[in-house]
Structure formats: structure tokens, C-alpha cells
Amino acid sequence: MVDFLNALVALLNFVIVPATAYGSQLALGALGVTLIYGILRFSNFAHGDTMAFGAMVTILVTWWLQSMGVSLGPLPTALLAVPAGIAATALLLLGTDRVVYRFYRRQRAAPVIFLIVSLGVMFIMNGLVRLIIGVDDQRFADGERFIISARDFKELTGLREGLAIKTSQGITVVVTVIAVALLFWFLNRTRTGKSMRAFSDNEDLALLSGINPERVVTITWLIVAALATVAGVLYGLDKSFKPFTYFQLLLPIFAAAIVGGLGNPLGAIAGGFVIAFSEVTITYAFKKVATYILPEALSPSGLVQLLSTDYKFAVSFAILLIVLLFRPTGIFAGKKL
């Protein structure tokens, strides 16, 4: 019985808790991608770098706050800086839309053209981030590191395995729940949200009924800025901030959005968790868990790891391919906002 509890705690500690946090971050990123796809109708390759930009502004403001001696006690100061990050990212995205995307929208350019244009935007944002903060790892988390540390947990329960929950992981989940609840309330309950959904469902009909498309687009970018910044900051708090990893997040984020069905917010959230849990489960070495559960004679000699962690991209990619081959519109049929 104790062995079973130990195995359970080990599983929680190394798989379920990290995957929940990672899944929340992916879900927030995928929500942004899916919103852009639903309203503006293109795959935005600049999204990873948008997240990096939002996180970068937040980090800079955090450093400034820290230097002023402001702090949130046990919580990371970065939470105070997030609104500033969102505001800066919103300005950047609205500016990009004005200068770049609007021209193609007026021309009713094909989605592929938009995609290539977003590559150009990606270059610029990537360059901006590297220019301003550089390419190195930046740590900006402060406050209490753990909600419960492995040692406290062991002393508390007397088990041999410890369960550590980082503050950043707790904050990630709480913030994600709040953000998602706000988003769904907005989309389903407010007039503006409903007009966005109408626009996504049938653009011509929405225009006929007097919805102002530019307003819908502006609000979409504002929401995307908020989602991207929050996702970027949470990921940075949990892991660390490095511009290149944000670019690489593009793949799991798109995989999450597509697996859930592009254009479907609920699908994006589900997709984020599907991708995160498969990534962590497949790359986790189950030796520890197995030694607790299996009888002595059967205990494994190897690490019982299906894939090395270096291949985590292969996991999101494989899931993406499987879903696309067998259910091309995603788990929840795509294109419904």
C-alpha cells in the first residue's frame, strides 16, 4: 500500500504536475493561434515571437519594479508587470495590423499570402526581442519558490517520495483558469463576443447584419496580445526565458490548436493538454514508478523511458500527424468559435 502511494506521488511529482502546468501554457498559446485563425483566417507563424515579446516587456518592467523595491511577497513580482506587457504587446500587434496585415485584408489575399507575411513579421519580432534583451537565458522569478517542497511533503506524510509544487506551476494553473473563464464569458455572453463568433462563422452574413469588421479584428488582436503575453510570462516563470525556445514552442502550440481543431477555443485547450501530457509521459523514465509497483523480481533494469527528452518535438509531431491523417478537422471539428 505504501509502495503504491509512493508510486502515485512519484507519478504526480514528475508527470502530472509538470504536464498540467505545461499544458496550461500550451493551451493559452493555442487559444491565441486559434482565435487568429478563426477571425483573421490565417496561421500566424509569428505567435511564438509574440509570446516572447510580451514576456520580454514583462521581464523588463519586473526588473524595474524590483529595483524600486516593489514586491508581491510570496508571489512573483512579474504578476504586477503583466498588464504592462499586455499593453505593449497590444500596441505592437495593433501597429503590425495597421502597417502590414490590413493591406492584405483589404485585398482579400489568400491565407497562404498571410502566412508568408507572418513570416516577415516573425523575423522582425524575433530581431526586436534579440536586439532588446539578447539571446541569453533570463530568470525573473522571485518570491517563494515552492508551494510545497519535496522535503516538507516527505516530513508531512512520511512517504519516501516527495511531491514538489512550484509556485509558478500553481500560478500557471490558477491564471489559466481565470483567463479561460474570462475568455469564454466574453465570447458567449457579451455582445462584442457574440459578434466575433458570428464573424468567424460567416463573414458575409456578419457584415450584412452590421458588424464592423475592423472592430472585430481590433478586439481579436487585443485578446491575442493578452493571451500571448500571459502564456509567455507563465512559461518563462516556470522554465526560463530564452527567445529561441519561444520560437520552438510554435510547433507544440500549433499541434495543440490543430489537434483540437483550428478555430475552436475549446479544442485548443484540450489539444494543449493532450500534447503536454503525451510529451511528458512518453519522455519520462518510469523506472522509479515501476520499481514501487512491480514485485522485486520484475523490477526493470533500464530507465523504462520510451523516448529521450530530446525528442519531445517528435511526440507533438506524431500526434499531429495521426490526428491529421485520421481526423483531419481535429478532435472537435474545427472552425467554430
Binding site: V121, F123, L250, L320, L321
Partner: protein
């Protein structure tokens, strides 16, 4: 080639820029730019086949380029006999079993009628196959990587002449493209983009981590060369006498001779490829390709096999990228999996094609040279600009140091601006498709 004067003018301009670098900086730098420009032009030709001819969005160029580099290693390095003795057989057996498992799964999927039996059989085949594969693979890898890890620790190659590696790199990339194309080409264009993006990341991950194959991040260095070594030239009295007769320094002359030899080889490859791609574009096949690109439904109604043609052009384009990758690895003399970055090897090639003019082979080549030149030169120019802009700040101020350090990243910004400006004001590129 309707716009011949414009083509000649623009090519003259770019070559002039490179020659100017030769006069103002040094001929070594200019030749480096020129050689990498040739390779970039070849990559751009490959992407142009896929995007310009057929409208396929491949953002996994980096993967195919890296595979070409692997091809160069596999063909030209000497085999490591001890490693082969230690685990060569195990690796081959394991790979065969892995391949057989996938094949069996595909056959089972096709033969067994849909239902629970099919799913269970499939799972059984995959799980058993995977464990057998790992049981053979892991010890073999451990044995190989234990063989003198500081110097080798991998299987080595076939020890063939390095020039053979170029077509071999192309073939390797073509094989990968076949697998990708078979699974992903039926998808919508943006799904294909994501799929290729993923493939490229996976290929790089394999090169970085499968030490038995490519030494991973320990890099394979000292690839054999198709041209003489500088040192040998400097020790050759005939060569020294000849260049001194012209009044050159033997050391500089030797390195320039080597670079010129590379340029010669690359120019031959590029000319052959231009000739082939132009012939293909102007043949009935090329017209069919463009018809499919412009209206898939209509082309299908005319009896064209759209899926097969897409697969064909995807493989051809990827093979060209692989060829370019093998040539680049040969030029560098080393395979460094850690240096493959999507911005440099995928998206920059896209900028080349779009700026040069998608659908026009000469445009792609021009874009290759021009964008590569800018990519290299923006850094010193950016540095100079920032130095000028911060001249008023006191030396040692944190902001000034930071800006000077960051000058290297100006190039990304510049490339993005160039891409957006061209897309907006001249969406068909510098040399439009006629």
C-alpha cells in the same frame, strides 16, 4: 527570359556588390560570400520548384539541408572498423526490424477489415516491434559510442570520394521527402507548413542525439576535400614560384586558389541545375505544374494526377536542397548539427525566393546571392550604424555596450523588413515570373 535586360542588370548589380567587397574588405571575404551565395542560390532553386512551380509551402528546408550534410559525412568519411565490429550488425538489424514493424503495421492496416481486431493487431505489432527494436538498438548504440568517443564513437562513412556525396545528399533528402510527402501532402497548405516545420526539427534532433550516426553535438570534423589543401599549395615550389611571379603573397594566394576551386565546382552545379530547371519549367510538365498551382480543381478535371505531381515536385525540390546541404558541409569541412537554425536555413531561403521572384528560376538565384550578401554585410553595416548613433554616449555606458553587442541581431530585423516591403510593393519579386 522576356526581361533579359532587367535580369542582366540586376545580376550585374549583385556581382558588382560582391566585387566591391573584394576591393574594400578583402578578396577572401568576397569569395566566401560568393561561394555561400552559390549554395544559397541552389537552395532557393529547390524551394522555388516547390513554391514557385507548384505552390507547396515547405518550411522544413533546414531538415533537408541537414540531411544533405549527413549524406556528405556518410559517403566521404572513412569507416570506423572497430565501431562496425562492436555494433554495426546490431544497428542494421535493429533498423531493419524497426522498418519491418512499420511496414507490417501498414500492411495490417490495409488488409484487416476495420474494427476492434484491426486496432488490437496494430497495437500489438507496434508495441512488440518497438520493444524488440529497442532491445537490439540500445546495446549496439552503447557499444559503438564507447569506441574511442573523443575521436570517433560513430560508425563513420563509406570512404568514397566526397564529390559522390553531393548526389548522395540529394538522394537522402529525396528519401525523407518521399516519406513526408506521402503522409503530409494531402493536407491543406498551412497544415503542410506545420508538418514540414516539425519534420525539420525532428531531423535536427536526430542529428544532434544519435551519436552513432553523426557524432551528435561533438561534430564530425575534417571531411575530405574535393580541392587541394592550402598547406600543400604553400609547400609546392611550382605554385609558390608562379604566384610570386605575379607578385602575390603565397599564403593569401593559396587560400584564394582553394576558394576559387570551390567556386568553379559550385558554378558547374548551379549552371547544370539552372539548365535543368529552366528546361523543366518550359516543358509541358512545367506548364502542367503551373496549371495545377493556379487551379487545382480545373487541372484535376483535365485528368492530371494532382497528388502524384505534388509528390514528384516536392521530392525534386527537397533533393536540390539536400544537394546544397551536402555542398555546404563539404565547403565547411565539418558537420555541426548544433548550428542548424530554422531562421537561417529555412526562413532565410524563403526570403531569397520571395524577394528574387517566386516562379522564376533566375529570380531565385538572384535572391540567393542578394539576400546572402545582405545577411553577411548587415552585421558590419549595422555595427557601424549603431556606433555612429551612439557616438554621443560616453564610452562604457551600459546602454551603448548593450546596443553594440546586439548589432548582430540587426540582420533578422532587416530581413523581415525586406520581406515585408517586397511583399507589399512588388509581390512578384525582383524578377517576376513571366
Amino acid at each position: 527570359m522576356t526581361d533579359t535586360p532587367r535580369t542582366i542588370l540586376l545580376f550585374g548589380l549583385v556581382l558588382g556588390l560582391i566585387v566591391m567587397t573584394g576591393f574594400t574588405t578583402s578578396w577572401n571575404v568576397a569569395l566566401n560570400i560568393f561561394n555561400m551565395g552559390l549554395i544559397s542560390a541552389i537552395m532557393a532553386l529547390g524551394v522555388n520548384m516547390q513554391w514557385g512551380y507548384a505552390g507547396l509551402l515547405n518550411v522544413g528546408v533546414m531538415g533537408f539541408v541537414a540531411l544533405g550534410g549527413l549524406g556528405a559525412v556518410v559517403v566521404s568519411m572513412d569507416p570506423v572498423d572497430e565501431a562496425w565490429a562492436a555494433g554495426g550488425l546490431g544497428i542494421i538489424l535493429a533498423l531493419l526490424i524497426g522498418f519491418g514493424t512499420v511496414l507490417a503495421a501498414i500492411v495490417a492496416w490495409g488488409r484487416i477489415p476495420a474494427g476492434r481486431t484491426r486496432v488490437l493487431t496494430l497495437l500489438a505489432i507496434l508495441i512488440i516491434g518497438f520493444f524488440v527494436y529497442r532491445a537490439l538498438f540500445d546495446p549496439a548504440v552503447a557499444a559503438i559510442e564507447a569506441v574511442d568517443p573523443a575521436a570517433t564513437g560513430y560508425l563513420g562513412g563509406l570512404g568514397l570520394p566526397v564529390l559522390l556525396a553531393w548526389p548522395a545528399g540529394g538522394l537522402l533528402a529525396a528519401g525523407a521527402a518521399w516519406i513526408v510527402g506521402k503522409t503530409a501532402l494531402g493536407l491543406r497548405s498551412d497544415y503542410l507548413a506545420i508538418a514540414t516545420l516539425g519534420i525539420a526539427e525532428i531531423i535536427i534532433a536526430v542529428l544532434k542525439n544519435e551519436d552513432w550516426l553523426s557524432r551528435g553535438v561533438k561534430n564530425v570534423i575534417g571531411l575530405p576535400r574535393p580541392v587541394p589543401y592550402e598547406v600543400d599549395l604553400q609547400n609546392d615550389p611550382g605554385f609558390v614560384a608562379r604566384v610570386e611571379g605575379f607578385g602575390f603573397d603565397p599564403v593569401t594566394a593559396s587560400s584564394i586558389t582553394v576558394k576559387l576551386a570551390y567556386s568553379g565546382l559550385f558554378i558547374i552545379v548551379l549552371l547544370v541545375l539552372i539548365w535543368l530547371t529552366q528546361a523543366a519549367l518550359n516543358s509541358p510538365w512545367g506548364r502542367m505544374m503551373r496549371a495545377i498551382r493556379d487551379n487545382e480543381t480545373a487541372a484535376e478535371a483535365m485528368g492530371k494526377d494532382v497528388k502524384a505531381r505534388h509528390l514528384q515536385v516536392f521530392i525534386l525540390g527537397s533533393a536540390i536542397c539536400g544537394l546544397a546541404g551536402a555542398m555546404m558541409t563539404t565547403l565547411d569541412g565539418q558537420l555541426t548539427p548544433g548550428t542548424y537554425q530554422p531562421l537561417r536555413f529555412t526562413f532565410l531561403v524563403w526570403v531569397m525566393v520571395i524577394v528574387g521572384g517566386s516562379g522564376n528560376n533566375f529570380g531565385a538565384v538572384l535572391g540567393g546571392f542578394l539576400i546572402w550578401f545582405l545577411w553577411v554585410m548587415v552585421e558590419p553595416y549595422g555595427l557601424a550604424a549603431i556606433e555612429f548613433a551612439t557616438a554621443g554616449l560616453p564610452d562604457g555606458s551600459a546602454l551603448k555596450d548593450h546596443l553594440l553587442d546586439s548589432a548582430a541581431h540587426m540582420r533578422l530585423l532587416t530581413m523581415g523588413v525586406i520581406l515585408l516591403v517586397v511583399l507589399r510593393f512588388s509581390p512578384r519579386g525582383l524578377l517576376p515570373e513571366r
